[in-house]
């Protein structure tokens, strides 16, 4: 069995926290540039250009692109042939988050108890960690900080199978329209369809890890992604919600088989700071 030391996990997570918050993916920057060229309204172009400048400043000065450095969401894909030594893997991930947020001057936004007292934990832990066992002897860690502005506009609906594609589209368009300027458009939409209640939500979150412009491998789902993107971009919410053609940069759908009586649909909205970085050990 291949051994991986917990301290290695701490260091890697710490670096990912900083990297994800400082350095917006090139795919997102390119999408913002393309959107900027296609907008006709001066205010929309102005906002997009400022977002591009902001990302470039954050990268060059190693500072967070947004003050909301998010909930630390970590996907850990654990190869079944590895053995973590020298400590508990969950503790190691949290230690990494603590180190990364402290040393990286990132904002700590977690409170201990959601309803009573809401006292800040002061190190942005605990992380929200999703583990998955995979074949092989590699460990893949994906770090995706998620801000509250867009997370708060997300939604899940247990639909009827009869609602079908039209029902799903209506649900998504209504939620995006109601969210308006709040989730920091241009947004990225992660849609999880199928599974059950919690599976749909995880699928939605996981779909946000996909690079912009990479569609679902199923051509029918890929065309639904394009259809929803076009319709969302007719809502005229636009960059910062001031109007324009670019309400969303991408729509990513992931599906999973589901019960004969169910059609769970989860919509996870991401802001334009669509942050995620990964490392394979």
């Amino acid at each position: 069995m291949r051994e991986i030391h917990a301290t290695k996990i701490i260091d890697i997570v710490s670096k990912l926290c900083q990297e994800a918050n400082y350095n917006l993916g090139e795919d997102v920057i390119q999408a913002l540039k393309k959107a900027c060229e296609s907008e006709t309204k001066p205010i929309a172009r102005d906002v997009l250009q400022q977002l591009i400048d902001n990302a470039s400043l954050a990268k060059s000065e190693n500072i967070p692109m947004c003050q909301d450095c998010g909930v630390a969401v970590v996907f850990v894909y654990v190869g079944q042939d590895i053995h973590v030594v020298g400590g508990d893997i969950t503790k190691a991930v949290n230690e990494g988050v603590k180190k990364g947020y402290n040393e990286g001057y990132l904002r700590k936004s977690m409170v201990k108890n959601p309803i009573i007292e809401r006292i800040n934990t002061e190190d942005n832990t605990p992380a929200v960690i999703h583990y998955r066992i995979i074949p092989g002897d590699k460990l893949k860690i994906i770090f995706t900080p998620k801000g509250a502005g867009s997370e708060n506009m997300s939604s899940l609906k247990m639909m009827k199978p009869a609602d079908g594609v039209e029902g799903i589209k209506k649900f998504v368009l209504q939620k995006v329209s109601n969210a308006g300027p709040n989730p920091c458009p241009p947004i990225v939409l992660g849609i999880g369809i199928g599974g059950n209640f919690e599976k749909a939500a995880i699928l939605a979150k996981e779909s946000l890890l996909r690079p912009i412009n990479q569609h679902n491998p199923d051509p029918k789902i890929a065309s639904l992604e394009k259809e929803i993107l076009n319709e969302v971009n007719l809502l005229d919410i636009g960059p910062a919600g001031f109007g324009g053609k670019t309400t969303a940069l991408a729509v990513n759908i992931e599906t999973y088989p589901c019960h004969i009586g169910s059609l769970p649909v989860a919509l996870n909205i991401n802001c334009h700071a669509a942050r995620h970085k990964e490392v394979i050990i």
Partner: protein, 188 residues
């Protein structure tokens, strides 16, 4: 785009009367940061007839919780947070003399009514511009609730802080007017 309007804080009724939705502004002077938790405490003070940690008459509150400053920085990234979470508290502060708010996103009917009735103004800054906006902050000091960490009340001196007039005293709302393409093109 037309030249932005240069504003100096504190704000007066005369200045607010001249502002119209969609105008670009550059804010100069002192502004105060406060978010959910600080608002809750301030409104509790007012409900108990106690003094606020700062005199809010004529002042501007910025809905923001900055990232920590790196060595050499005045402040860490410092963009606006979503304003609707402050809606339950804002009318009371406006009633007590608050003249301006900076945030992002839509406001409630109650906030709009208070803006109109007491002559206040709501500015939208661009969400997610934390790194750029931090550059406009020249001085910063925590003046209340340090236990709230990023949510503490900070007095900041800003220079040419960019924002847009989002809700004016004439029922103008930047988020409502977005569909009127011609109107907004004119405003830009």
């Amino acid at each position: 785009m037309p030249e932005p309007v240069i504003l100096n804080t504190p704000l007066t009724d005369n200045v607010i009367e001249d502002l119209r939705v969609g105008q670009r502004v550059l804010i100069n002077g002192i502004i105060y940061t406060a978010r959910d938790a600080a608002h809750k405490r301030m409104v509790e003070l007012l409900d108990n007839n106690q003094q606020l940690p700062f005199d809010i008459k004529g002042q501007v509150i910025y809905y923001a919780g900055p990232a920590p400053a790196k060595p050499g920085q005045v402040i860490g990234s410092c963009g606006p947070t979503t304003s609707y979470r402050m809606d339950p508290y804002a009318p009371k502060l406006i009633q007590h003399g608050l003249k301006g708010m900076i945030g992002k996103g839509t406001r409630s009917v109650e906030v709009k009514e208070a803006i109109k009735k007491y002559k206040s103004i709501y500015f939208a800054a661009v969400g997610g511009l934390g790194a750029l906006l931090a550059k406009t902050v020249k001085e910063v000091k925590v003046i209340a609730y340090p236990d709230l960490g990023p949510e503490a009340i900070r007095r900041m001196t800003v220079q040419n802080f960019p924002a847009f007039v989002a809700i004016d005293i004439y029922d103008g709302d930047i988020y409502k007017e977005k569909k009127e393409v011609d109107n907004l093109a004119f405003l830009c």
